[in-house]
């Protein structure tokens, strides 16, 4: 309680914050866990608060997904135990409106309450000050608020379940289904709650992103030039910029839709629309406007959900291959290129929407081009591994899985980027396969790598390696078992979001493949309990470790594990980039950013420079 709350006093005054006057105190596990229940302004505590919350939400989102999978494998059949518990009034069977709610909320929870906050919220918060040598974020209070804004968001998402069975307009909430209260059982108050919650998530992200940008620009330790920053920090920085520019559009659109629903404005509702025999709308609006505004945020959001994982995987990979990142600057530039192009590709979600077909052509070209920086990154990761000394531990295995899965997700994207082919694949399971390979296959494996890699820094203990590997193997196999066949479903034109597609004669033979997918998904879902068990038990019984258990170079590894309030005992000075593994300047196979080597001995060892 005592030291962790000092941020409140000391961060106002940076002169006072050099820790000269303070006694550096390393918190115990109990103190860390205790501080997580308070309104702490310490970035590490806020990061952990985000991490714990999102891990719980991961299980909620997973449970919703298993509901979807149950229905697709055993349509309109009684679900044992859970069905009776939740859908007792429907005979334990998932009704069609419940099914639409399940996939809507699965996507909503996973995107807004897991992927976005676990990357930017959890890892961004925990890592940014530690990796750039700052004692905390630039705005600790704003930082705390960004976490606490998540809780009302979770509350409103939770509340939405109690109105009309829950929101059921898809996570994209296209009007007029989402704009007209009578359009579906879930289009009433549930949709309003949903919009409020999404807005609150946006508020949370915005407070975070302002903080990250300011911190990274202003609070780097001496010697930490921009091009000495780890790629994780570059990725967080670029993500923060993306968020700051894209999010206002979604927030504005959300308020417009709210006012369409609540005050009868018609931004998104054209005239003469008759839903469920209600009176015709007076209208004058454009439904396509919502799609443009929504995707103007949500496409960059795809990169918000990917770039930080790319950064973290780069760090893990360089460390575990004991080799400098191959092409550091091309890696930075390609991150920036993905972010830049990410703003002009949103139309590829709308190829069949009826927007001007000429736009389809230009969005096709920009979308194809965004594959380029992704390809460059992949080749550079392979280059990083080439000639390294690869150590197959849990973080590394998950990082390799990231590349392996990202290649699939990237390549399957090319089919949909091509407009004529997308005519066929749009809204089929091919899309579902594609974005799960990116969001789960890439991002979540990246997150697993990140959790196992930085866990020692969070709690001063190691996670169990055997459990970590078991979790990895089961997840990897079950993941591919669940999502690879979805490509084939998509090629067979199996559409998304249908509660029971099997009454179409051309689709009925796909039931068996769907049952296989469901079994894989159940295995994958339950495998996550291994991760949770490993994570929570290691907090208490993991093997104790020192500052730098991986022999890594990054600045965060020069702080104690776990770092106390203020992070570093003394102000760190940075002499080089974070990827100088196997450098000839030293006997060791790593060379920390803070380690000073006098010029004379540098010249003696490496006359040609590096």
């Amino acid at each position: 309680m005592s030291t962790l709350d000092q941020t409140a006093h000391s961060s106002h005054d940076h002169d006072d914050h050099g820790h000269g006057g303070h006694h550096y105190h390393q918190p115990s596990t109990g103190e860390i866990l205790g501080a997580m229940l308070t309104f702490s302004r310490d970035h590490k505590i806020i990061g952990l608060q985000f991490l714990f919350t999102t891990l719980i939400m991961l299980m909620v989102g997973g449970a919703l997904a298993l509901g979807v999978r149950w229905q697709l494998a055993f349509p309109f059949q009684r679900m044992p135990i859970l069905g009776d518990l939740f859908f007792g009034s429907q005979g334990g069977v998932i009704a069609p409106e419940t099914y639409t709610m399940l996939f809507t909320m699965h996507a909503t929870v996973m995107i807004f309450l897991v992927i976005i906050p676990i990357l930017a919220g959890a890892f961004g918060n925990f890592l940014i000050p530690l990796m750039i040598g700052a004692d905390d974020m630039a705005f600790p209070l704003l930082n705390a608020l960004s976490y606490w804004a998540m809780l009302p968001a979770i509350f409103f998402f939770g509340l939405s379940f109690f109105y009309g069975g829950g929101p059921a307009g898809g996570w994209t909430s296209y009007p007029t289904l989402s704009a007209l209260q009578t359009a579906a059982p879930g289009s009433g108050a549930a949709q309003t709650c949903w919009l409020l919650a999404v807005t609150l998530v946006g508020v949370s992200s915005m407070m975070g992103s302002v903080n990250y940008m300011t911190t990274i620009i202003n609070m780097r330790a001496p010697g930490m030039t921009l091009f000495r920053m780890p790629l994780t920090i570059w990725a967080m920085f670029i993500t923060a910029i993306l968020q700051a520019f894209a999010l206002p559009v979604l927030t504005a659109a959300g308020f417009m839709l709210l006012s369409d629903r609540s005050f009868g404005t018609c931004f998104f509702v054209p005239a003469g629309i008759v839903v469920n025999n209600a009176a015709p709308t007076v209208g004058g609006g454009q439904t396509l406007l919502w799609q443009h505004l929504f995707w103007f945020y949500s496409h960059p959001a795809v990169y918000i959900m990917l770039l930080p994982a790319m950064g973290m995987v780069s760090d893990v990979m360089s460390c575990m291959a004991r080799k400098p990142i191959f092409g550091y600057k091309p890696m930075v530039y390609s991150l920036a290129a993905i972010a830049g192009l990410g703003f002009i590709v949103w139309g590829h979600h709308m190829f069949t929407s009826g927007m001007n077909p000429a736009l389809g052509m230009s969005f096709m070209v920009s979308t194809m081009m965004i594959a380029l920086p992704s390809a460059v990154k992949t080749f550079n990761w392979l280059g990083t591994l080439w000639g390294g000394r690869i150590q197959f531990n849990t973080p590394m295995l998950n990082a390799i899985a990231f590349i392996s899965m990202f290649v699939v997700g990237g390549l399957s994207g090319i089919f949909m980027a091509a407009v004529p082919v997308d005519i066929y694949f749009h809204d089929t399971y091919f899309i579902v396969a594609h974005f799960h390979y990116v969001l789960f296959g890439s991002t979540l494996f990246g997150v697993f790598a990140g959790i196992t890699f930085w866990f020692p820094k969070m709690f001063g203990r190691m996670m169990n390696e055997t459990l970590g590997k078991i979790h990895f193997v089961i997840t990897f196999i079950a993941f591919n078992g669940a999502f690879f066949p979805m490509h084939l479903l998509g090629i067979a034109a199996f559409p998304r979001r249908l509660a029971d597609p099997y009454h179409y004669p051309s689709l009925e033979h796909l039931l068996s493949l769907n049952q296989f997918i469901t079994i894989s998904a159940i295995v994958m879902g339950f495998a996550q309990f291994i991760l949770l068990f490993n994570f929570f038990s290691s907090i208490f019984i993991g093997k104790k470790c020192g500052r730098n258990p991986w022999n890594a170079n990054g600045l965060e590894w020069s702080a104690p594990s776990p770092p106390g309030h203020g992070n570093f005992e003394s102000l760190p000075v940075i002499y080089r980039g974070p990827y100088e593994y196997s450098s000839p300047l030293t006997e060791k196979d790593y060379l920390m950013q803070t380690e000073y080597i006098p010029k004379s001995s540098q010249a003696a060892v490496a006359p040609t420079g590096h």
Partner: protein, 280 residues
């Protein structure tokens, strides 16, 4: 264990490729080859991309597995190669994929233009729309112009789209059309978004509130095709099922005529109707 992990990462691309190879034999592939000329071109583009993508997939995975196999290490503290990159390699692996991607996107343009740009539409089909299709929760309402009706110009078609004629012919969920002929429908919706999807013909177009969107297709075989709603439209989205029946020109004319007659039938024998026709 050092050799286990490279093999682990080798196993999965092999399984993926074998699985995809076998998929058509199990029906996990296109239900049928495209049943329309434009659809066949879309299929060709799909297979072109598939070949490119599979080549890259195999190449990258071979490189990955090779690297994992060759450079794995169990000796702690052993040093790797100290290099920060290669300018030439960066250039090669930037320019090459850029060329391939640009080729793919430019190569696709023509098919897209023919599917969606009204300027390229068949004049005959534009001048003689087959029907107006109105999507609504959860059915497809179809309105044909009266059998044999000829629209004089575009203005008359627009007028017909705004104000139905008394002699229009109505039906639900069952769209008939002549085979081997480009036909055009005007797609609209009464309530929320829907999507007009005929998988076998490779046709998909959203129905957007407030818009009337012309969609053309051509079925090259006399057959029946599924019409699926592909855009979430509410709880009953899954059962919004229609059928396209492509038949010979004569059969279609016969069908439409019979439909018109059935609709005009007020239960009174036809003879009586003509006798009292003057009275109306």
């Amino acid at each position: 264990m050092r050799r286990f992990w490279p093999l682990f990462f080798l196993a999965w691309p092999i399984i993926a490729i074998v699985w995809s190879w076998l998929a058509p034999y199990y029906g996990w592939w296109f239900h049928k080859p495209a049943q329309s000329p434009l659809g066949q071109e879309i299929d060709n583009l799909f297979y072109l991309i598939l070949i490119i993508v599979t080549t890259v997939f195999v190449g990258v995975n071979m490189a990955l597995v090779y690297v994992l196999w060759k450079f794995s290490s169990t000796t702690p503290g052993e040093k790797g190669t100290f290099t920060h990159g290669s300018h030439i390699l960066e250039m090669v692996w930037t320019v090459t994929p850029a060329g391939v991607l640009l080729f793919i996107s430019l190569y696709q343009m023509d098919v897209w233009a023919r599917f969606r740009m009204v300027q390229t539409f068949d004049k005959q089909a534009l001048a003689h729309p087959l029907a107006e299709v109105t999507a609504r929760q959860f059915e497809w309402r179809i309105r044909y112009p009266a059998p044999g009706r000829n629209f004089k110009n575009k203005a008359e078609i627009d007028e017909w789209l705004k104000h139905p004629s008394p002699d229009d012919v109505y039906t639900v969920n069952d769209l008939h059309c002549p085979a081997n002929k480009k036909v055009l429908i005007h797609l609209r919706t009464e309530d929320v978004l829907h999507s007009f999807f005929i998988p076998d013909l490779r046709v998909k177009q959203d129905a957007v509130p407030g818009l009337v969107i012309p969609v053309w297709f051509e079925a090259s075989k006399r057959n029946q095709y599924d019409l699926i709603c592909a855009e979430l439209c509410g709880w009953g989205h899954y059962k919004m099922k229609g059928r396209i029946s492509a038949e010979s020109e004569a059969d279609f004319a016969k069908y439409l005529h019979a439909l018109a007659q059935r609709q005009a039938d007020d239960g009174v024998p036809a003879k009586v109707e003509t006798k009292e026709g003057e009275g109306h």
